[in-house]
Symmetry: C2
Protein backbone atom coordinates (compact mmCIF):
# COMPACT_ATOMS: atom_id res chain seq x y z
CA UNK A 1 0.00 0.00 0.00
CA UNK A 2 1.50 3.33 -1.01
CA UNK A 3 1.39 6.45 1.02
CA UNK A 4 -2.02 7.93 1.77
CA UNK A 5 -3.40 10.21 -0.84
CA UNK A 6 -1.76 13.59 -1.04
CA UNK A 7 -5.14 15.26 -0.93
CA UNK A 8 -6.06 13.73 2.38
CA UNK A 9 -4.30 16.04 4.78
CA UNK A 10 -2.05 19.10 5.03
CA UNK A 11 1.00 17.05 5.94
CA UNK A 12 0.89 15.18 2.70
CA UNK A 13 0.13 18.27 0.69
CA UNK A 14 3.10 20.08 2.16
CA UNK A 15 5.49 17.21 1.56
CA UNK A 16 6.00 18.43 -1.98
CA UNK A 17 8.74 21.11 -2.20
CA UNK A 18 7.02 22.97 -5.03
CA UNK A 19 3.81 23.16 -3.07
CA UNK A 20 5.64 24.66 -0.12
CA UNK A 21 7.19 27.09 -2.55
CA UNK A 22 3.75 28.04 -3.84
CA UNK A 23 2.43 28.57 -0.34
CA UNK A 24 5.32 30.88 0.44
CA UNK A 25 4.81 32.74 -2.80
CA UNK A 26 1.14 33.48 -2.29
CA UNK A 27 1.14 33.93 1.46
CA UNK A 28 1.25 37.71 1.38
CA UNK A 29 -0.84 38.32 -1.72
CA UNK A 30 -2.83 36.41 -4.25
CA UNK A 31 -1.38 35.51 -7.63
CA UNK A 32 -2.70 34.11 -10.86
CA UNK A 33 -1.85 30.61 -12.00
CA UNK A 34 0.28 31.94 -14.81
CA UNK A 35 2.29 34.13 -12.45
CA UNK A 36 2.91 31.21 -10.17
CA UNK A 37 3.98 29.02 -13.07
CA UNK A 38 6.45 31.69 -14.16
CA UNK A 39 7.81 32.14 -10.65
CA UNK A 40 8.32 28.40 -10.20
CA UNK A 41 9.47 27.88 -13.76
CA UNK A 42 7.06 24.99 -14.05
CA UNK A 43 4.42 24.09 -16.62
CA UNK A 44 0.94 25.51 -16.16
CA UNK A 45 -0.72 22.10 -15.96
CA UNK A 46 1.59 21.07 -13.16
CA UNK A 47 0.90 24.22 -11.26
CA UNK A 48 -2.84 23.82 -11.69
CA UNK A 49 -2.59 20.34 -10.31
CA UNK A 50 -0.57 21.43 -7.32
CA UNK A 51 -3.07 24.17 -6.63
CA UNK A 52 -5.86 21.65 -6.83
CA UNK A 53 -4.18 19.55 -4.17
CA UNK A 54 -3.68 22.58 -1.96
CA UNK A 55 -7.30 23.52 -2.42
CA UNK A 56 -8.53 20.07 -1.52
CA UNK A 57 -6.90 20.26 1.88
CA UNK A 58 -7.86 23.88 2.41
CA UNK A 59 -4.38 25.32 2.18
CA UNK A 60 -5.36 27.93 -0.39
CA UNK A 61 -8.40 29.92 -1.38
CA UNK A 62 -9.17 31.04 -4.89
CA UNK A 63 -10.97 33.88 -6.58
CA UNK A 64 -11.94 33.94 -10.20
CA UNK A 65 -11.72 37.13 -12.18
CA UNK A 66 -12.41 36.98 -15.87
CA UNK A 67 -10.18 34.39 -17.45
CA UNK A 68 -7.76 34.26 -14.62
CA UNK A 69 -7.89 32.71 -11.23
CA UNK A 70 -6.10 34.10 -8.24
CA UNK A 71 -4.91 31.88 -5.46
CA UNK A 72 -3.83 32.78 -1.99
CA UNK A 73 -2.49 30.85 0.96
CA UNK A 74 -4.96 30.10 3.69
CA UNK A 75 -2.49 30.21 6.55
CA UNK A 76 -5.07 29.11 9.05
CA UNK A 77 -4.85 25.54 7.81
CA UNK A 78 -1.11 25.53 8.38
CA UNK A 79 -1.80 25.66 12.06
CA UNK A 80 -2.51 21.97 11.95
CA UNK A 81 1.12 21.43 11.17
CA UNK A 82 2.40 24.12 13.44
CA UNK A 83 0.45 22.78 16.39
CA UNK A 84 1.53 19.24 15.76
CA UNK A 85 5.21 20.11 15.64
CA UNK A 86 4.81 22.32 18.68
CA UNK A 87 3.96 19.22 20.70
CA UNK A 88 7.66 18.42 20.59
CA UNK A 89 8.91 21.80 21.72
CA UNK A 90 9.21 20.66 25.32
CA UNK A 91 11.40 17.79 24.18
CA UNK A 92 13.76 19.68 22.00
CA UNK A 93 14.29 22.11 24.82
CA UNK A 94 15.06 19.42 27.32
CA UNK A 95 17.28 17.70 24.81
CA UNK A 96 19.25 20.89 24.40
CA UNK A 97 19.69 21.09 28.15
CA UNK A 98 20.88 17.51 28.15
CA UNK A 99 23.41 18.26 25.48
CA UNK A 100 24.60 21.31 27.33
CA UNK A 101 25.05 19.58 30.66
CA UNK A 102 26.82 16.81 28.82
CA UNK A 103 29.21 19.37 27.40
CA UNK A 104 29.77 20.74 30.88
CA UNK A 105 30.71 17.32 32.11
CA UNK A 106 33.22 17.00 29.34
CA UNK A 107 35.07 20.03 30.68
Amino acid sequence: MPRASTTSDPFNAVAEPRRRHILELIAAEERSVGDIADALDLGQPSVSKHLQVLRDVGLVTMRRDGRRTYYRTNAETLRTIHDWSRMFAAHWRSQLRRIKSHAEEER
Copy 2:
Protein backbone atom coordinates in the same frame (compact mmCIF):
# COMPACT_ATOMS: atom_id res chain seq x y z
CA MET B 1 8.25 12.41 -11.96
CA PRO B 2 6.89 11.18 -8.61
CA ARG B 3 7.28 12.96 -5.35
CA ALA B 4 10.80 13.40 -4.05
CA SER B 5 12.16 10.55 -2.02
CA THR B 6 10.69 10.18 1.41
CA THR B 7 14.14 9.97 2.89
CA SER B 8 15.17 13.33 1.56
CA ASP B 9 13.67 15.64 4.14
CA PRO B 10 11.61 15.82 7.32
CA PHE B 11 8.51 17.04 5.53
CA ASN B 12 8.32 13.94 3.43
CA ALA B 13 9.15 11.67 6.32
CA VAL B 14 6.38 13.18 8.41
CA ALA B 15 3.79 12.93 5.64
CA GLU B 16 3.12 9.34 6.65
CA PRO B 17 0.53 9.06 9.46
CA ARG B 18 2.18 6.03 11.01
CA ARG B 19 5.50 7.76 11.14
CA ARG B 20 3.95 10.71 12.94
CA HIS B 21 2.39 8.21 15.27
CA ILE B 22 5.76 6.66 15.95
CA LEU B 23 7.33 10.03 16.64
CA GLU B 24 4.62 10.81 19.18
CA LEU B 25 5.04 7.42 20.76
CA ILE B 26 8.76 7.67 21.33
CA ALA B 27 9.01 11.37 22.02
CA ALA B 28 9.09 11.01 25.79
CA GLU B 29 11.01 7.77 26.06
CA GLU B 30 12.76 5.28 23.88
CA ARG B 31 11.06 2.06 22.83
CA SER B 32 12.09 -1.15 21.17
CA VAL B 33 11.01 -1.97 17.65
CA GLY B 34 8.77 -4.73 18.91
CA ASP B 35 7.03 -2.42 21.35
CA ILE B 36 6.39 0.07 18.63
CA ALA B 37 5.04 -2.59 16.30
CA ASP B 38 2.64 -3.73 19.03
CA ALA B 39 1.53 -0.20 19.78
CA LEU B 40 0.86 0.55 16.12
CA ASP B 41 -0.52 -2.89 15.42
CA LEU B 42 1.70 -3.11 12.40
CA GLY B 43 4.14 -5.74 11.18
CA GLN B 44 7.69 -5.60 12.44
CA PRO B 45 9.18 -5.24 8.94
CA SER B 46 6.99 -2.23 8.24
CA VAL B 47 7.97 -0.60 11.48
CA SER B 48 11.64 -1.22 10.83
CA LYS B 49 11.29 0.42 7.47
CA HIS B 50 9.52 3.44 8.88
CA LEU B 51 12.20 3.77 11.50
CA GLN B 52 14.83 3.59 8.83
CA VAL B 53 13.21 6.49 7.02
CA LEU B 54 13.01 8.49 10.22
CA ARG B 55 16.65 7.78 10.91
CA ASP B 56 17.73 8.86 7.47
CA VAL B 57 16.33 12.32 7.99
CA GLY B 58 17.51 12.53 11.57
CA LEU B 59 14.11 12.39 13.20
CA VAL B 60 15.06 9.58 15.56
CA THR B 61 18.14 8.28 17.30
CA MET B 62 18.77 4.65 18.13
CA ARG B 63 20.60 2.67 20.74
CA ARG B 64 21.36 -1.01 20.50
CA ASP B 65 21.20 -3.19 23.56
CA GLY B 66 21.66 -6.89 23.14
CA ARG B 67 19.22 -8.13 20.56
CA ARG B 68 16.98 -5.18 20.75
CA THR B 69 17.20 -1.69 19.44
CA TYR B 70 15.65 1.29 21.13
CA TYR B 71 14.51 4.27 19.18
CA ARG B 72 13.69 7.73 20.36
CA THR B 73 12.44 10.89 18.73
CA ASN B 74 15.03 13.51 18.01
CA ALA B 75 12.74 16.49 18.46
CA GLU B 76 15.41 18.94 17.38
CA THR B 77 14.91 17.98 13.75
CA LEU B 78 11.22 18.75 14.00
CA ARG B 79 12.15 22.37 14.35
CA THR B 80 12.64 22.49 10.62
CA ILE B 81 8.95 21.95 10.25
CA HIS B 82 7.95 24.09 13.15
CA ASP B 83 10.00 27.02 11.92
CA TRP B 84 8.68 26.70 8.41
CA SER B 85 5.06 26.73 9.48
CA ARG B 86 5.78 29.59 11.86
CA MET B 87 6.55 31.76 8.86
CA PHE B 88 2.82 31.92 8.29
CA ALA B 89 1.84 32.88 11.80
CA ALA B 90 1.68 36.55 10.92
CA HIS B 91 -0.74 35.76 8.15
CA TRP B 92 -3.09 33.57 10.03
CA ARG B 93 -3.31 36.21 12.69
CA SER B 94 -4.11 38.95 10.21
CA GLN B 95 -6.57 36.67 8.50
CA LEU B 96 -8.34 36.14 11.78
CA ARG B 97 -8.55 39.90 12.26
CA ARG B 98 -9.97 40.23 8.79
CA ILE B 99 -12.61 37.64 9.54
CA LYS B 100 -13.48 39.32 12.81
CA SER B 101 -13.84 42.79 11.35
CA HIS B 102 -15.90 41.26 8.63
CA ALA B 103 -18.17 39.78 11.24
CA GLU B 104 -18.44 43.15 12.92
CA GLU B 105 -19.55 44.72 9.69
CA GLU B 106 -22.23 42.12 9.39
CA ARG B 107 -23.75 43.30 12.65
